[in-house]
């Protein structure tokens, strides 16, 4: 590719585009991903925030943003982005702002909205070819209200709404594939714990126009039940066990940007979090651990 590209971690910004002092939990993996993304995108953005944990980011009179922020209901962030984009286009076409004053519309939503309530509006926005970036911080549950299961909750995880010995019976929806099925301009999975991979993908997304997805797995100390200091380790384990594949879709092809080798057993990841503790205590549930391992194995078998 021809666009500018971060060559090493040392090139990542040391001064950040997102200010401190937000009300997000200490150790929030979503906030980590958000500031890494904004560090690359810069401050010439309008963040369109679907209701979720990050509702708390900007609560009057405090905002961590240098750019603008617009709040929408869970289902309608892409519609908000359409309005912002249209308004900017009108200002451009009437000569009220120049190309240098243009802004990037960035939807910011949690998994509750991205995988569920907001999916219809998202699908329609991609269909219309809306020029926007969709950043989802996926902490695999309705974190802001107590980590009830969402469409992104992984199989077997224990949540307040899946309290049984087997945890969540459903499957984590594959939002990346849902996006890819729409043939968007760009889609990528990222994680805050792998900042160079993330920065390169955001860089690439920023160089393109049209509907673009940045899907960030967001380790959540509160919802996943672990000591916040382990957030980065857990993120890296999600990648090294193959549970969270790092990949991108561009020009019609999916490419894995990192293939874990050797791939660690899933229990290295599962055992770090209270939401999977029932797989190990009081009795080890080999059947369910094996089932989760099998799903991951099957995924990687199909990766060319």
């Amino acid at each position: 590719m021809s666009e500018a590209r971060y060559r090493s971690l040392r090139e990542l910004p040391g001064v950040h585009a997102l200010a401190a002092g937000t009300a997000m939990c200490a150790g929030c993996g979503g906030l980590e991903a958000l500031h890494e993304v904004l560090d690359v995108l810069g401050t010439r953005t309008v963040v369109i925030n679907a209701a979720g944990c990050m509702t708390l980011l900007a609560s009057y009179p405090f905002t961590p943003f240098h750019g603008s922020w617009l709040y929408t209901s869970m289902a309608s962030a892409p519609a908000g982005a359409q309005g912002v984009r249209d308004a900017l286009d009108l200002l451009r076409s009437r000569g009220r702002i120049g190309a240098d004053d243009d802004l990037t519309a960035v939807v910011l939503s949690g998994d509750g909205s991205a995988y569920g309530m907001g999916l219809s509006a998202t699908s329609a926005a991609i269909e219309r070819g809306l020029d926007f970036i969709y950043l989802c911080y996926d902490n695999e549950g309705y974190g802001n209200t107590g980590q009830q299961t969402s469409a992104a909750t992984p199989h077997g995880a224990r949540t307040p709404t899946s309290p049984g010995p087997a945890g969540h019976a459903g499957e984590k929806k594959d939002l990346f594939d849902v996006w890819v099925a729409h043939r968007p301009r760009y889609a990528a999975t990222v994680i805050g714990a792998e900042p160079l991979d993330l920065a390169r993908k955001v860089q690439r997304a920023a160089s393109l126009a049209g509907p673009r997805l940045i899907l960030a797995l967001a380790p959540c100390p509160t919802g996943w039940d672990y000591d916040p200091m382990h957030g980065v380790d857990i993120g890296r384990l999600a990648v090294r066990t193959g549970i969270w594949p790092l990949k991108e879709y561009v020009d019609g092809a999916v490419v894995h940007t990192h293939v874990p080798h050797p791939r660690l057993p899933v229990e290295a990841y599962l055992s770090t979090q209270g939401r999977f503790r029932h797989l190990f205590e009081p009795l080890r549930n080999d059947a369910l651990i094996g089932e989760i391992q099998q799903r991951v194995d099957r995924y990687w078998q199909n990766v060319g």
Binding site: L9, R10, L12, G14, V15, H16, L18, A19, A20, G21, T22, A23, M24, A26, G27, C28, G29, L31, E32, H35, E36, D39, T43, L57, A58, Y60, P61, F62, T63, P64, F65, H66, G67, W69, G192, A193, P195, P221, P228, M229, H230, G231, V232, D233
Partner: protein
């Protein structure tokens, strides 16, 4: 305000009739509402269309419950709820030729009834979509506030989309309906604009609405969250040992979720203790283990150790 309710069947042009009447009223200087209402949206299914025409902005919404004029496209519809809301002041106009007095008695209709007079009885033989134009013409005459020319223009404009043949046929039938009811011109009276105006106000507490700038205020300054001292949340404090720090300039500052560590190339990073929440991600992430966690005892705003 005039409130006119049309009743017909899918395929009789009644939606168009309401549009013709609405357009003609609008062209005559009225504010107008015009909306069809379908049950099953298919040919032959009973439907209604509702037209309001006032002298000022219309705030009333929905189906018309107390019509000044009810227009019925054919006699088979009389079995339904078409008489609903008719009063002694209102008018029922049926596209038929049964003598009006007989019909009024038979239906026990409280208001006045109009059908085609004997000289124009052949009009009831009209079929299909053209019935709408006919009814619109008749209704326009009964209101008495629409001129023949205005009606003609409205007929042509609203039916044009169905082709020039249909528009011409509609124009002829609409005007025939208008002419046939010359003796009843203006017999429909205008209802009051706000029938509930004189009612006693309900027994509830009215709450004033806040101005939008107060209810959903904007923040115009950047990065004001820095005024919030989230450092007060901390129970443990990360401390960088300058002797061990490799000055990599990126690991702790990038991975800190809160943008609370600032780094410059070649220098020991500075931890912003006013905002560091003490998650200690940096302690585990630092490759040379140059960051230690100490119990939080000092004031939250104390500076970096030298």
């Amino acid at each position: 305000m005039y409130r006119i309710r049309f009743h017909g069947r899918g395929g009789q042009g009644i939606r168009t009739a309401a549009s013709v009447l609405g357009s003609a009223l609008f062209a005559s200087g009225r504010e107008v509402q015009d909306a069809p209402r379908y049950g099953a949206e298919r040919r032959g299914a009973p439907m209604s269309a509702h037209v309001r025409a006032g002298r000022s902005v219309i705030v009333e919404r929905g189906a018309i419950a107390q019509p000044d004029l009810v227009v019925v496209a054919d006699p088979t519809l009389l079995a339904g709820g078409v008489l609903q809301g008719l009063s002694a002041q209102s008018v029922l106009f049926l596209n038929g030729s049964e003598p009006a007095d007989e019909l009024r008695t038979r239906l026990a209709c409280p208001g006045r009834v109009v059908t085609w007079p004997g000289a124009a009885r052949e009009l009831e033989e009209t079929t299909g979509v053209a019935i709408g134009a006919l009814c619109a013409g008749g209704a326009a005459r009964l209101l008495g506030v629409i001129s023949r020319t205005t009606l003609e223009q409205a007929l042509l404009a609203e039916i044009a989309g169905h082709g020039s043949g249909a528009a011409e046929a509609g124009r002829a039938l609409g005007l025939a309906g208008f002419d046939a009811l010359a003796d009843s011109a203006g017999m429909v009276g205008e209802g009051v604009d706000d029938p509930g105006a004189g009612d006693a106000p309900p027994d509830w507490v009215r709450l004033a609405l806040d101005d939008a700038s107060l209810a959903a205020p904007d923040v115009f300054r950047e990065a004001t969250s820095e005024l919030v001292q989230t450092g007060l949340w901390r129970t443990s404090r990360p401390v960088i040992d300058a002797a061990l720090c490799s000055r990599c300039s990126w690991v702790c500052t990038t991975l800190c979720p809160d943008s609370a560590i600032h780094a410059k190339a070649g220098e020991v990073p500075q931890i912003d203790y006013e905002h560091c929440k003490g998650c200690l991600v940096c302690v585990l992430a630092c490759p040379p283990h140059a960051i230690r966690a100490l119990p939080e005892r000092q004031p939250a705003t104390a500076g970096n150790p030298r």
